[in-house]
Every structure is written in structure tokens, then in C-alpha cells.
């Protein structure tokens, strides 16, 4: 599923494998599109609330219908997406168009029947969780108990029950009594994939806190605190900004956490708090360009990161429609480009290289010619297969592993 600035959610579905070409996997096509959020106006604050979708999270499937959570800056909504291929016919009090029939015309009782019809996918809003966030929601995460989820804004994290929309529990609050003392904000948060009492949240100072909800209702005191000491040789005025964490993700196994900051992606072992076990450079060549990137605000871009199904490869985005993959076992990494020009259907992606030194080899692109308006912030990896989705500005690319 994808969300856009206009508040729409588009769901794609992979088509069934065709029988005559068994080696080709099905392609993804639009399954359903619906308007999730509408622009709103906060009259109390004279503030327009954008309909822009910040995050979408699927709920584990429990029946034929799909459920997903979508959020804009302030309001989280639970949507049910279901298919319908039959419709009831032959009501007694209504005619075929749904109008009430004149009671005097009803002379006999009928038994309504279900008749097949064209497949229809409908999305219906099931719950609206509003009015709990003063700041902008940056993350939502469904708990492994399937009954609760959390929503995090810049200063607070709330815990919700799916059935209860009018109240939520505040589980983290870092808002200082005096806002002048504010130097740190929450940037992302996620539940542990298996332990429903554990969650992590990251901060703008580059730290990650792991909290255990069993200790107290308000998790202001973390159970674990992950922080890497600053490298003095790389210190600059931008050190704090580039260490700000834009995304945090538990591995599927629950053993590791991955964090993305401006220049790197790091993998942390839950059992080691003082430094990450792996650090991968995403685009280190930008280190010399930080001032321009600060100037044009790119330095505040929030890149996401994802694990593959087996936690052995990680992927994250960069500029110029480039995205990076790192194999944790072989330590190999690759830069790929998602662009309309060089990706015809079923074309094989060629690795791209950014040249750092003075000499530019063939096929390389120089740092100065990178397009900073083309950024890949959102990526997703199929939970079991090697299929990835890459959102590049207003295009969605889906790539899959080479088929033998």
C-alpha cells in the first residue's frame, strides 16, 4: 500500500501466476484506491491539517478482509479493505435500487438471495483515533498482541486499543515543563515483533531507547539506551543533525534493531548498547556537501530503512533516485537506480557508482551532478520473497530478484 500527499491510499495486488508462463511471477496491479484522509481545519488553533499520509501499517491478516492503519499528522484511521463478489437481491421492503417500496404494493413475502456480481473491492473506515496528538505523528506500530498499537509524535507516544477510539494511554512523554529547554525530539518508534511489552523509540540526538511496558505505566525510564560515542575526527556543526535518527526497525527475528541516520544505516544488537555491531555508509560522499544540504534543507530528509525477509540484507534510500542494499553476511553493497529511463519492464538493474575523487570513470556519476530533488525516502521488502517496492517521488517501482 502507498499513501500520498493528497490523503489517498493505493493498494497494489500481485496477480496470480499465469499458467503458460510459470517462471514469471505475477505483476503488481492496482487493487484498490481510496481517500483515507481529508484536509481538515483545527478551529482552535486556526491551523490547517494536511491530509498527507505519513505512515501506513498493515495489520496481520485474520480473515478474508485486510485491515490497515493510516495516519496523517494528527489522526490515525483503521481501514477495512474487503472484497465483494455477491450481492443480495429480492428484499421485501426495498426495490432493486434501494428505494423503499410502497407498503400497499407488497403483496407477497420473498426470500432474498445472493447473486454473483463483478468483484468489488471496498474500503471502509472502521475506527478513527483522533485528538490525542498535539505534535506531528511520525510513526505508528501495530503490537504483536494484535490488540493494541502505538502512535508516536515529536514528544509523546500513545498506546491505543483497536476497539477504543476515545481514549489512549500516554506511554512516553519527553516534553519538558519548560519548552525553552527542549533539545531533543522523538523521531520514530516501533514495537518488538514478538514481545508485546517491549518497544523502541529513536531521538533526534541519535540515541535509541528500549522500554518495557511492564515496569510502569509511563515508560519515561528506559530499560536500555543505545548510543554510539561521537567520533571526534568527524565532528562538525552538523554532527547532531546528521546523527538524528530518521527510522528505526526491529529485525524480523527481534534480535537486532536497524537505525537510519542521514549518512549511515546501523545495526544494533539488543544485547549491546554501547555501539552498533554494523555500520554501513549510505552516501558518505555527501559529507563534504553538508553545508549546501543544510542550506537547501535536504539534511532534514527522513530516509526509511527495511530488512529483507531473512534479516540478511538491508535496504535504504538515497538521492538521485538511488537506493542501496547491504548484504550483512558477504558485506557486499550495491547502489541501484529507480528511474523511468533505464528501467523498462523486466529490465535488469545495473549497479550505479558515484565517483568521489577527481577522475570520473565511465558509467560513474559525479557527486556534483546528483539530483537532490529525486530522493527515495520510502522502501519496502516482501516479507518472504525477494520483491521490493521503492517509492521515488511520485513513482512506485517494484523490483524482484532475477527469475531463473
Amino acid at each position: 500500500a502507498t499513501g500520498d500527499k493528497g490523503g489517498r491510499v493505493v493498494i497494489f495486488q500481485r496477480e496470480q501466476e499465469s499458467k503458460n508462463q510459470p517462471h514469471r511471477r505475477g505483476e503488481y496491479n492496482v487493487y484498490s484506491t481510496f481517500q483515507s484522509h481529508e484536509p481538515e481545519f483545527d478551529y482552535l488553533k486556526s491551523l490547517e491539517i494536511e491530509e498527507k499520509i505519513n505512515k501506513i501499517r498493515w495489520l496481520p491478516q485474520q480473515n478474508a478482509a485486510y485491515f490497515l492503519l493510516s495516519t496523517n499528522d494528527k489522526t490515525v484511521k483503521l481501514w477495512k479493505v474487503s472484497e465483494r463478489d455477491k450481492r443480495p437481491e429480492g428484499y421485501n421492503l426495498k426495490d432493486e435500487d434501494g428505494r423503499l417500496r410502497d407498503p400497499s404494493m407488497i403483496t407477497m413475502l420473498r426470500v432474498p438471495v445472493l447473486r454473483p456480481m463483478d468483484l468489488m473491492v471496498e474500503a471502509t473506515p472502521r475506527r478513527v483515533f483522533a485528538n490525542a496528538h498535539t505534535y506531528h505523528i511520525n510513526s505508528i506500530s501495530v503490537n504483536s498482541d494484535y490488540e493494541t498499537y502505538m502512535s508516536a509524535d515529536d514528544l509523546r507516544i500513545n498506546l491505543w486499543n483497536f476497539e477504543i477510539t476515545n481514549q489512549s494511554f500516554n506511554i512516553v512523554d519527553i516534553k519538558p515543563a519548560n519548552m525553552e529547554e527542549l533539545t531533543e525530539v522523538i523521531t520514530a518508534a516501533e514495537f518488538h515483533p514478538h514481545h508485546c511489552n517491549t518497544f523502541v523509540y529513536s531521538s533526534s540526538k541519535g540515541t535509541i531507547r528500549l522500554c518495557d511496558m511492564r515496569t510502569s505505566a509511563l515508560c519515561d525510564r528506559h530499560a536500555k539506551f543505545f548510543e554510539e560515542p561521537e567520533d571526534p575526527s568527524n565532528r562538525s556543526f552538523f554532527s547532531e543533525i546528521i546523527s538524528s535518527i530518521s527510522d528505526v526497525k526491529f529485525s524480523h527475528s527481534g534480535r537486532y534493531i536497524m537505525t537510519r541516520d542521514y549518512l549511515t544505516v546501523k545495526v544494533w544488537d539488543l544485547n549491546m548498547e554501547n555501539r552498533p555491531i554494523e555500520t554501513y555508509q549510505v552516501h558518505d560522499y555527501l559529507r563534504s556537501k553538508l553545508c549546501s544540504l543544510y542550506e537547501n534543507d535536504c539534511i532534514f530528509d527522513k530516509f526509511e530503512c527495511v530488512w529483507n525477509g531473512s534479516d540478511s540484507v538491508i535496504m535504504t534510500g538515497s538521492y538521485n533516485n538511488f537506493f542501496r542494499m547491504f548484504d550483512r553476511n558477504t558485506k557486499r553493497d550495491v547502489t541501484l537506480e529507480a528511474s523511468r529511463e533505464n528501467s523498462k519492464p523486466r529490465a535488469i538493474l545495473k549497479p550505479r557508482k558515484v565517483c568521489v575523487g577527481g577522475k570520473r570513470r565511465k558509467d560513474e556519476i559525479s557527486v556534483d551532478s546528483l539530483d537532490f530533488s529525486k530522493k527515495i525516502l520510502h522502501t519496502a521488502w516482501h516479507p518472504a520473497e525477494n520483491i521490493i517496492a521503492v517509492a521515488a517521488t511520485n513513482n512506485l517501482y517494484i523490483f524482484q530478484d532475477k527469475v531463473n
Binding site: 488553533k45 486556526s46 491551523l47 505534535y135 506531528h136 511520525n138 515529536d154 514528544l155 519548560n178 519548552m179 525553552e180 527542549l182 533539545t183 531533543e184 525530539v185 523521531t187 533526534s204 571526534p232 565532528r235 562538525s236 556543526f237 552538523f238 547532531e240 543533525i241 538524528s244 563534504s288 553538508l290 553545508c291 549546501s292 543544510y294 542550506e295 537547501n296 534543507d297 532534514f300
Partner: protein, 264 residues
């Protein structure tokens, strides 16, 4: 709204920062003498730091224009300003800049995230946000002292203008105003308001009857002197930097006065 602006600035800064950004690492143990010597040796570093500070302040001001700015971004920028401020305090450049432009207190207010998240009502009612009002008050207080007592407004007005706007001034300021009508108007509001009458009107709001105007006058006099050795030229020439550090004691005094003005 700052698309065009940002573009131009980027080009400008790219040329400015061509020598690389690696900042010299100041250890706490390093004595101030050594640090100062280091700075004199790299005037371009000072210049870079100054333009970074200016850029950050402009960004912060623009954040203030929004009812609900991106809090993460605002906090990070504010922290950057604090960091620059801290370093400049260490090597002594901060007090010089600070007295000539907006005064310690108002910059602190600017950096404080409190106003970043203020309610929109203040704006709706047409009131100045706290940051602006302090800015106006202490600066105009400064200015009014000059115009009424020493009649040398020009230099003291000119000095902060350079500081506040050296990023902008390289281009046509009028054009900027067009693009940024709302924001820049407010940023430069005080700087362009040179008419003595209006200044005195504004100043009359500040109750200064408790303070000895003569002591303040001496402070202002030194400020006037300082006004000449300010701006971009200062940072590019090592000798000027040296003379600035000599003026430091006067400036401490002046700093104190500005603080008093703000408190009133």
C-alpha cells in the same frame, strides 16, 4: 516560499565553503590564547561560521512564521545555533556580535524552542511574538540611545544590518523582500525603522528611569567605535579580528547594559 531564495543561497554558499567545512576541533583543555591564535590564522573559518549562524537564524525566523513548524527540524537548527554560540563564546567573538546585533537575551529567545511552538493566537491578534518583541525592544532601545544622546545612529544601525543580513546583502535586498515579503519584513523591521520619532515612541515604552543614562552613554560610545570594525571585512582580515578582541572589555559592559534594557 523560499525556493528561489534557497537556490541562490546555495550557489553562494558553495563558493564560500569551497575550502571545506572541516571545523577545527576545539578541545576544552586548549587555552583561549591558542584558540584565538588559531582563529586569526583561519579567518575564512570565522566567516563560514558566521554565515552558518546567519543562515540558521534566518531558518529559525522562518520557522517562527509557521503556526506549527516541523519541530524536529526547528530543534536541530536551534541546537546548531546554540553550538555555534557556545563556540563563539569560547573564543570571544560571540559577545562582540551579540552586543552589536540583537543582544544576548533576544538570541536566547530566538534559539529557545518555546516560541517555535507558540500558539497561533498571538499572530492572529497581530501581536509580535515574544522573540520579535524582545528583538525590537532591545535593539531599538540601543538605537534610541544613540539618536537622542550621541547623534550617531548610522554606524550602530549599520553594524547589525551587516551581521543580520550578510547572507542576503550580497544580492538585491529589495528582491528578497519581494520573495519573502512577510518574513523578511519582520526580520528587518527594526533595521529599517530609522526614523527618530518612531524610535523614540517605541523607546518610551521602555521604562529606563531607573538607570543612569550617562553610564549607558559611555557604553554606547564604545559601541559606535566598534561599529566600524564590524561586518564581513572583520572576519576576513586578521588584524581587525585582533582589534576586536581588544575591545572585549568594553563590550562586556555593553552586553550588561543590553541585558538591563531587555529586562526592563
Amino acid at each position: 516560499m523560499g525556493e528561489e531564495e534557497g537556490l541562490h543561497q546555495t550557489q553562494l554558499l558553495d563558493t564560500m565553503f569551497v575550502r571545506g567545512l572541516k571545523r577545527k576541533c576545539f578541545d576544552g583543555e586548549e587555552d583561549i590564547e591558542g584558540t584565538l591564535a588559531g582563529i586569526k590564522a583561519i579567518p575564512s573559518y570565522n566567516l563560514q561560521r558566521q554565515s552558518l549562524l546567519d543562515m540558521s537564524l534566518v531558518k529559525l525566523q522562518l520557522c517562527h512564521m509557521l503556526v506549527e513548524p516541523n519541530l524536529c527540524r526547528s530543534v536541530l537548527i536551534a541546537n546548531t545555533v546554540r553550538q555555534i554560540q557556545e563556540e563563539m563564546t569560547q573564543d570571544g567573538t560571540w559577545q562582540m556580535i551579540n552586543t552589536q546585533s540583537t543582544g544576548q537575551a533576544s538570541l536566547d529567545r530566538l534559539v529557545s524552542t518555546d516560541i517555535l511552538c507558540r500558539s497561533s493566537r498571538e499572530q492572529a491578534e497581530g501581536k509580535h511574538v515574544p522573540g520579535y518583541s524582545t528583538f525590537n525592544k532591545d535593539f531599538e532601545g540601543d538605537q534610541a540611545q544613540d539618536s537622542s544622546e550621541t547623534m550617531s545612529t548610522v554606524s550602530s544601525v549599520q553594524a547589525p544590518r551587516n551581521l543580520q543580513s550578510n547572507v542576503w546583502e550580497m544580492e538585491n535586498p529589495q528582491e528578497n523582500k519581494g520573495n519573502f515579503q512577510k518574513s523578511l519584513d519582520q526580520i528587518f523591521e527594526t533595521l529599517e525603522n530609522k526614523s527618530p520619532n518612531s524610535v523614540e515612541d517605541l523607546f518610551s515604552e521602555v521604562d529606563n528611569s531607573y538607570y543612569d543614562l550617562d553610564t549607558m552613554l559611555t557604553g554606547m560610545m564604545s559601541n559606535t567605535k566598534m561599529g566600524h570594525c564590524d561586518g564581513l571585512e572583520t572576519f576576513s582580515s586578521p588584524t581587525a579580528t585582533a582589534s576586536n578582541s581588544n575591545c572585549k572589555s568594553d563590550l562586556n559592559e555593553l552586553d550588561h547594559i543590553v541585558e538591563i534594557l531587555v529586562e526592563s
